[in-house]
Symmetry: none
Subunit: 64 residues, 3 copies
């Protein structure tokens, strides 16, 4: 029995989904609570989302 | 039965996703509550996110 | 059946991710509630994060 690579890729997306979901969800709730802080919240959101996105793509390439 | 390396890479991203999600989520909620503390919150966010990101990439390279 | 080393590395990062996520999340929430205590919170955050980071890297090297 061999487990296909795609199972690993799926686990990567589960991890990125949990993380990006929490990041995006909290960003949206924050903007809804303080619409005048939208710019600041969006900057922080993009920084942390880029870190996770970069790691997920790095794992896809390096883990193969 | 062989388990591909990519499954391990997926577990790494699940760990980083849980961590970065909580870090980013709390940062966004904090900025929404105290927009004037954005700089301080963002600095702490980047310090702890860099620690986790570094560990995740280190694990990708060392664990292979 | 062979389980690659990278699966163990992934489990290490899951553990560190849960821990660093809770540490960073609570630090951010604390800074948002008391911005004037940022220095104290950040110092404590870095001490405890370094302990977990050191353990995770130690496990990566020793467990191999």
């Amino acid at each position: 029995m061999t487990i296909p690579n795609l199972v690993g890729a799926g686990l990567i997306v589960i991890g990125a989904g949990i993380g990006l979901g929490k990041i995006g969800g909290s960003a949206m709730e924050g903007i809804a609570r303080q619409p005048e802080a939208t710019g600041k919240i969006q900057t922080a959101m993009i920084i942390i989302a880029a870190l996770l996105e970069g790691l997920a793509f790095g794992a896809l390439f390096l883990g193969k």
